[in-house]
C-alpha cells in the first residue's frame, strides 16, 4: 500500500536520501533503524508530505504523495503520524486531542466522535485521564494519547518517528505495548526505532539506513541476528554495547 521508488532528497548540497526503494504491504510492520542523521525521519516525513523530495515516487495506494498539492490533505488524513516529542495540542484535553481530527477534518458527528475517542482512550489504557491536559500527563501517557489521536482518523497506516526516544526508560514499555497490540491487530506501521527487541519481535521487515541509503533489509531475525553489511554489524554492535538489549 506504500511504495517508495528511487527517492532522492537533498538540503542544498547535502544529500539526505540517495535512492530509497521500499514497499510496505497492507498489514505489514516495517522498522527503520540506522544511526542518527542517516535520513530516517526525512524518509518518514516524505511519506505524508511533511517534507518534499527531489526525485522518484512515493505512492500511497497508487496515489503520488506530493507536498503542496490538493490531494495531500486527503492522503495525510489516511496516513497518521506519531512524533518523537508527542506534539499534543497543549490547549486541549487528552480527549479533545483525540476528537480534533475526526470532528474538524473528517467532519464526523461530535457525539459519535466523542464515543469513538473514549473507546480509543480506553484502548490505550487512559480512560481515567481523558479530561487531563497534556502537561498533566507523563511522557508515556502523552505518547499513548498521540497514538489514540492517530487511530481516531481510522488510518490505513501509521508512521512512528522514534516514538519512545523522548521517554524515561521506565515509560518505554507502556508505549511499546500499545504498539505491539496495533501490530497484532494488523495495522500497517512504519516505525523508526532504536528498540531492537521490539523490532525483532514485531517487525515483518527491518531496513537499515546509512547515509541516505537502505544498505540492508530483510526479515527482522536475519537483519538483526546475522547482518550481512559491515555498517549494520557495526551499528548493532555499538547499540548492544550501549544497552545490552539485543540477543539473537
Amino acid at each position: 500500500m506504500i511504495e517508495i521508488k528511487g527517492v532522492y532528497k537533498s538540503y542544498g548540497s547535502v544529500a539526505v536520501l540517495e535512492g530509497i526503494d521500499l514497499q510496505v504491504k497492507s498489514g505489514e510492520v516495517v522498522c527503520l533503524i540506522g544511526p542518527s542523521g542517516s535520513g530516517k525521519s526525512t524518509l518518514l516525513r516524505c511519506i505524508n508530505g511533511l517534507e518534499s523530495y527531489d526525485q522518484g515516487d512515493v505512492l500511497v495506494n497508487d496515489e503520488r504523495v506530493e507536498r503542496n498539492t490538493r490531494t495531500i490533505h486527503d492522503i495525510r488524513s489516511r496516513v497518521a503520524m506519531v512524533f518523537q516529542r508527542f506534539n499534543l495540542f497543549p490547549h486541549r484535553t487528552a480527549l479533545e486531542n483525540v476528537m480534533e481530527g475526526p470532528i474538524y477534518v473528517k467532519k464526523e458527528n461530535p457525539q459519535a466522535a466523542r464515543r469513538n475517542a473514549e473507546a480509543l482512550m480506553e484502548k490505550v489504557g487512559l480512560s481515567h485521564r481523558m479530561n487531563a491536559y497534556p502537561d498533566e500527563l507523563s511522557g508515556g501517557q502523552q505518547q499513548r494519547v498521540a497514538i489514540a489521536r492517530a487511530l481516531a482518523m481510522n488510518p490505513q497506516a501509521i508512521l512512528f518517528d522514534e516514538p519512545t526516544s523522548a521517554l524515561d526508560p521506565e515509560l518505554v514499555g507502556e508505549v511499546l505495548a500499545v504498539m505491539r497490540n496495533l501490530a497484532d491487530e494488523g495495522m500497517t506501521m512504519i516505525v523508526v526505532t532504536h528498540e531492537m527487541a521490539f523490532a525483532r519481535d514485531v517487525a515483518d521487515k527491518v531496513c537499515f539506513l546509512h547515509s541516505g541509503k537502505i544498505v540492508e533489509s530483510g526479515p527482522a531475525g536475519e537483519v538483526l541476528s546475522t547482518p550481512a553489511h559491515p555498517r549494520t554489524q557495526d551499528f548493532l554492535r555499538r547499540l548492544l554495547n550501549h544497552s545490552g538489549e539485543v540477543q539473537a
Partner: protein, 218 residues
C-alpha cells in the same frame, strides 16, 4: 471650598471618563482586528504580502499618534471624508495601535512550535484550519501579557484624542481648569480617576494571565 469644587467637578469629569472608556474600548477592538490582520500577513509565506504588511506596520509605528489623529480629523475632510471627532479619535488611535498589536500577535504566532503545526497537518488539516484550531488559540495565550499591557497604554493614550476636541476626561479637565483656574484640584482629580481605571484593569489582567499564560502552551 475644595470639597465643594470636587463635588462640582466630579460629575463633569465622570462624564468625560465614560467617553474615555468608549474611546479606549472602540480603538482597542479596532486595533486588535487590524493588528491580527497585519500579523497574519506578516507571517504569510507569500513574500510580497509579508513585506507589504511589515512596511505598513513600520510606517504607522514611525508616526506620532497626534500627527495621525490630526491627519484623519483635519486632512481627510479635504478629500471629502468627513468624520466626527469621536469617529476620527477611535479610528486614529485604532490604526496607530494596530502596529503594536500586530507585533504582539506576530510574536505569539511565531512562538508556536513547528511540531504543533506538523501534528495538525498530519491530521490532514489545511492551512486556515491549522491557524484557527491550533496556532491562534495558543498564540493568544502567549500574547496575553503584551496584549493586556497594550490595553492599559491605550486607556492612557486615549487622552490624546482631546487634541481633536473629543470630550473625554482630559479635555473635560482642561475645560474646567481654564474657566475656574482650579488647576490643582482639577488635575489631581483627573489623575486619580485615571488610576481608578488603570489599576483595577492591570490587576484584572494579571489575574487573567496567571490563569492562562504559564500552562497549556507548547
Amino acid at each position: 471650598m475644595i470639597l465643594q469644587n470636587v463635588l462640582d467637578f466630579l460629575p463633569i469629569l465622570l462624564k468625560g471618563a465614560v467617553v474615555t472608556l468608549q474611546v479606549t474600548a472602540g480603538s482597542f477592538v479596532l486595533s486588535s482586528l487590524i493588528g491580527l490582520l497585519f500579523a497574519l500577513m506578516m507571517v504569510s509565506k507569500i513574500r510580497t504580502i509579508a513585506l507589504f504588511a511589515i512596511s505598513v506596520v513600520n510606517i504607522i509605528r514611525g508616526l506620532p499618534i497626534i500627527v495621525q489623529l490630526f491627519y484623519i480629523y483635519f486632512v481627510l475632510p479635504e478629500f471629502g471624508i468627513q468624520l466626527t471627532a469621536m469617529q476620527a479619535g477611535v479610528i486614529g488611535l485604532g490604526i496607530a495601535y494596530s502596529a503594536y498589536q500586530a507585533e504582539n500577535f506576530r510574536a505569539g504566532i511565531q512562538a508556536i512550535q513547528q511540531g504543533q503545526i506538523e501534528a495538525a497537518e498530519s491530521l490532514g488539516m489545511r492551512g486556515a484550519m491549522v491557524m484557527r484550531r491550533v496556532v491562534l488559540p495558543q498564540a493568544f495565550r502567549i500574547a496575553l501579557p503584551p496584549y493586556g499591557n497594550t490595553l492599559v497604554m491605550m486607556l492612557k493614550d486615549s487622552s490624546l484624542v482631546s487634541t481633536i476636541t473629543v470630550a473625554e476626561m482630559t479635555r473635560a479637565g482642561q475645560l474646567i481648569a481654564s474657566s475656574t483656574f482650579e488647576n490643582m484640584t482639577v488635575y489631581t482629580l483627573v489623575a486619580l480617576l485615571y488610576l481608578a481605571m488603570s489599576l483595577p484593569l492591570s490587576f484584572a489582567l494579571r489575574r487573567l494571565e496567571a490563569r492562562f499564560s504559564t500552562r497549556r502552551t507548547s
